[in-house]
């Protein structure tokens, strides 16, 4: 089943090359819808692991499996891809065939990241997600797309080099002739090597998340990417970093020297990201850039939860990764919807949109409140679990990061006021409200946000076994 899930978008991409360009978008939508249904089906039935030799001489296997955490990430990926494709129907006009083919390729790669159990396989998927995104930004992006694409590429590629370095070191040092992740991570290491490998992995994933101070590719990439690119970047790709932390970095901690100091450093970096991202967000003049910086802050919460190293923090973090995908995905979709009408992202060009586009302003309000962590919407639950975990790990962490919640409300409400409220300027007064297609792109996320907010227990239940396993690995010594 997992293999099928990975194959469907890939096959869809290959077939799309032979289809006429005017059908591309419908084909891509159909393929991604099928993939989404498949992932939901997997979520319901559970997934069985698949394993076969790939490069036997090196001990590389095709080995995929999915626990609850992976399944959740798979569903997030397929849903976000489907919506990203739907959102691009009108806005992408040139090189249409390539655009949708790249999105499908990207989907396969991202799905692979969340199921790979073999380091080489993981690395391949991790890298392969980079290329389509590079092209999406570089070819269909905004004015400074080239700068943004190259910056994104350089940053992430340097991270990948460290990831590769870490994997090879682990392979060589452990003496196990396999790239099986579980085996390698469980193999005894001396503290110095473990620490070096930890930092190598850390760099790769920290750039992907991104953690302060490695985040500056993100505002450019998010801002310049086409809507589909921003939605997928924020919704899924950043989570490849946090997912990597959870699966591959945390298990190394018990063996690494100075683990306690390392965790303290990472906690502090997370808090800096939370506050710094929020403060910088506050002063942005570009709508999309503001949302981009808010991601730095929100991902700070996610990493803070992870490095709390307790059940509440880690499960909150995993849930919040999904939540961030939903709320920030929504925010980017809205920016895209407005951009298609006005072709500007400068906040000062707006105001009074609530009057011209009342339905859109309601959806934007829900997205904003979900992002700001209002109870009964998704963001609150994750944030609360994370902060609760952080408090248990180190009370000071909670004291320092809760102001991020206050600032979160500040930059979002201010954005809302400047774009939606007040009198409408002439150019904005007669904009068309949401079309049926646009409703279709936003409604699933709104429904998802409310359902997680009102009844998050099934998600916690789904996440729990993976979190338990991670904690057991942490406390094994």
């Amino acid at each position: 089943m997992i293999g099928l899930l990975l194959l469907v978008p890939l096959a869809g991409m290959l077939i799309s090359i032979f289809l006429p360009a005017r059908l591309s978008k419908y084909w891509a939508a159909a393929v991604s819808a099928a993939t989404a249904l498949l992932s939901v089906q997997l979520l319901r039935t559970g997934a069985t692991a698949e394993r076969m030799p790939w490069i036997p001489s090196l001990g590389v296997d095709y080995h995929v499996a999915a626990d609850g955490i992976s399944l959740l990430m798979l569903v997030l990926t397929t849903v976000m891809t489907l919506l990203a494709i739907l959102a691009s129907f009108e806005s992408v006009k040139d090189r249409v065939k390539e655009f949708y083919a790249l999105l499908l390729l990207l989907e396969s790669a991202m799905l692979g990241v969340f199921v790979a159990q073999d380091f080489v396989l993981f690395f391949v998927f991790f890298e392969f997600s980079l290329v389509p995104m590079y092209f999406l930004i570089g070819l269909w992006g905004g004015e400074r797309r080239l700068y943004a694409a190259i910056k994104f590429f350089l940053y992430t590629l340097s991270g990948s080099v460290f990831l590769l370095l870490g994997i090879i070191a682990l392979y060589l040092k452990s003496g196990a002739r396999t790239f099986d992740a579980a085996t390698l991570l469980a193999a005894p290491l001396d503290p110095v090597t473990a620490q070096w490998v930890f930092w190598a992995f850390f760099l790769a994933f920290a750039i992907k998340v991104p953690m302060f101070p490695l985040h500056t590719w993100l505002p450019d990439a998010h801002t310049e990417a086409p809507t589909a690119g921003s939605v997928i970047l924020a919704g899924v790709m950043l989570k490849m970093g946090t997912y990597g932390f959870l699966r591959f970095s945390l298990p190394l901690l018990p063996q690494a020297g100075h683990a306690r100091e390392i965790v303290t450093v990472l906690g502090v970096l997370s808090i800096i990201a939370i506050l710094y991202g929020a403060l910088v967000s506050l002063m942005q003049k570009d709508w999309k850039r503001l949302v981009a910086y808010s991601s730095v802050s929100h991902l700070g919460f996610c990493t803070l939860g992870l490095f709390s190293l307790n059940a509440s923090g880690i499960s909150g973090s995993v849930l919040q990764q999904v939540n961030h995908g939903i709320s920030t995905g929504l925010l980017f979709l809205i920016v895209g919807i407005v951009y298609e009408r006005r072709h500007t992202r400068v906040i000062a060009d707006f105001g009074g949109l609530a009057h011209a586009m009342p339905n859109m302003s309601v959806i934007f309000a829900i997205a904003m409140l979900s992002s700001a962590g209002l109870p009964l919407l998704n963001g609150f639950v994750g944030e609360f679990a994370i902060l609760n975990g952080a408090y248990q790990a180190n009370a000071l962490w909670a004291y320092w990061s809760v102001p991020g919640v206050v600032l979160g409300a500040a930059y979002l409400l201010w954005l809302y006021q400047r774009t939606m409220l007040g009198p409408a300027q002439e150019v904005n007064a007669r904009l068309q409200d949401l079309t049926v297609r646009e409703w279709l792109t936003v409604l699933p996320l709104v429904a998802w946000a409310i359902s997680i907010g009102v009844y998050p227990k099934p998600y916690f239940d789904l996440i729990a076994p993976g979190v338990k396993a991670a904690l057991e690995a942490l406390h094994r010594s």
Binding site: K173, L279, V280, S312, A354, V402, G422, P423, P456
Partner: protein, 656 residues
Amino acid sequence: MAESQQLWLIPALPLLGFLINSTVGRKMSKQFVSFIAIASVVASFLWVAKTLNALGALDQPHVEHYFTWIASGTFSVGFDFSVDRLTSIMLLVVTGIGSLIHIYATGYMAHEGGYYRFFAYLNLFMFFMLILVLAANFLLLFVGWEGVGLCSYLLIGFYFLEKSAGDAGKKAFIVNRVGDFGFSLAMFLVFINFGSLDFGTVFGKAATLQPEHSAGMITAICLLLLVGAAGKSAQIPLYVWLPDAMAGPTPVSALIHAATMVTAGVYMVCRSSSLFNNAPLAMETVAIVGTATAFFAATMGLAQNDIKKVFAYSTVSQLGYMFLGAGVGAYSAGIFHVVTHAFFKALLFLGAGSVIMACHHEQDMRWYGGLRKKIPVTFGTLCCAWVAIAGIPPFSGYHSKDAILLAAYEHARPLFWIGALTAAMTAFYVSRAMFLTFFGEYRGPNPHPDHGHGGHDDHAHGDDHAAHGHDAHAHKDHGHGHQEIKESPAVMTIPLVILALLSLGGGFFNIPDWLEPVLGSSHAEHDPTAVAVLYATFIVGIGLAYVMYVLSPSLPDKLASSFKGLHTLIYNKYFVDEVYDVTIVHPITEGSRYFLWKGVDAGLIDGAVNGAGSVSRWLGGTLRHLQGGNIRSYATWVAAGAVFVVLAMSVWGGVR
């Protein structure tokens, strides 16, 4: 376990009203929208009445568990509702006053745009407020707490075309979030120490704790809770949002910013009384914060010209009394004052709304005068609120305020004297508002073709904008032609009359006795000196106002010019908003813009990134080939990187 009372219906009914009005309301008639809005709240009130009737004496809390909301590790919180004697009072006040204000609002908002939106928000507010009072654990209370804050934000900003309304809404939300900082941390601390957020569990354990081991922890929890309460209930130093909140429509001011939501902080403190009782230091802080707020807000109320601002500062001040009550251990007196205040302050605001409507959305009292004959029902009912808030026996405010102040007399003599002085000021500013509005000669514009605000000279001062703003836009067609001052329609005056009766007689509900099993006794000795002082307060307050605003109307201006500094200070509310701007808001915004964003982000980090200069350019040159689709070069790069890494490791790392 008693049989289920379907408590969930109490909040679910207004939620249903919200869902109907928010989805189809825009296309429906105003009658339909009004019907849904009122019916859902009245039905909720009736369900409360039925439930309380069935539950009887409520010697034990009645708890209903619906589902487990969050469960992760050892952390588990249920979606549980609970009704005890304290909840019963709050339920009746919220749904009862809520019903009256919904009815009134159908008259007040009859000519406004966004009618369906207004009532949808109002119903949503009822939903969250009822969750807040029904919640059986801290986290669910917090859900209601945040939810009412959201509705407050939406309704303050209801006239969203006005920037001032948007500003005020945003300010309210953010200041409340600062309070929530404390509330959240308090919850984490409670969970760590008690292993639960459930009221029953936490308070049960708190009662058995050894004070010597737990005092510090409990004090920390209570102080953090106080930060939360100070945000929601507009106490020093977080009161600044409430006066600005008057930018919302007047029924909102009455319901949310006087009768219900702003008392949530008091409710929360009283709800946690078994924690506070173990933290004397926190209780003292509550009492001092309450007294200081009561006093300073009253002084600010003395010099306001906007009728809603006067009542807004009055609300802040009265909330201070409630905190004083809780702080000196007279929790039930505090809740008693919550109830009577809900009656008379809702009435004051609704009456003010009636005056404002009669005067074509003029809110400046200097343009009122002599209205008592023109709007007699409004005048008569407002008089009932007047005697209630001024503390004249036997009307409602007298009973509750004196219960608080007499308790303060026993426990903290200085606080009693400040409280008494505040009571005199209260009587003064309310009397001033009444005299300016209803007595003397009408000072407003005579029927005049262009009645507008440009004509008034010194009247458009900064913060007055907030309250005035909307009529410039929302009521453009008012103020032309029909200038006669008319009494409000019956849908508005009937709620006024009911509230007037409650304001007069509400003091005879024996709420402290009813609450004694939950909150302890707050019965205080009726010390003759104290009682005499309290009688003196309203006599002095009303008398002074009578002299200044009826007998010798030129006196206030003379006083203002001879105590110019003091008057400026009070009139500008001690410049607290300005101080917050300079010390908090500006450093944050400017620091973020110039230091963090332009400095650290764009300068330092990106500078370093770009400054990997030659390397970057060289790589950039190579990578540009990718645009042509040369994926092989990328693959080469990864491979080359891998080779480099392995080589590097074998050189430095001593592989094997």
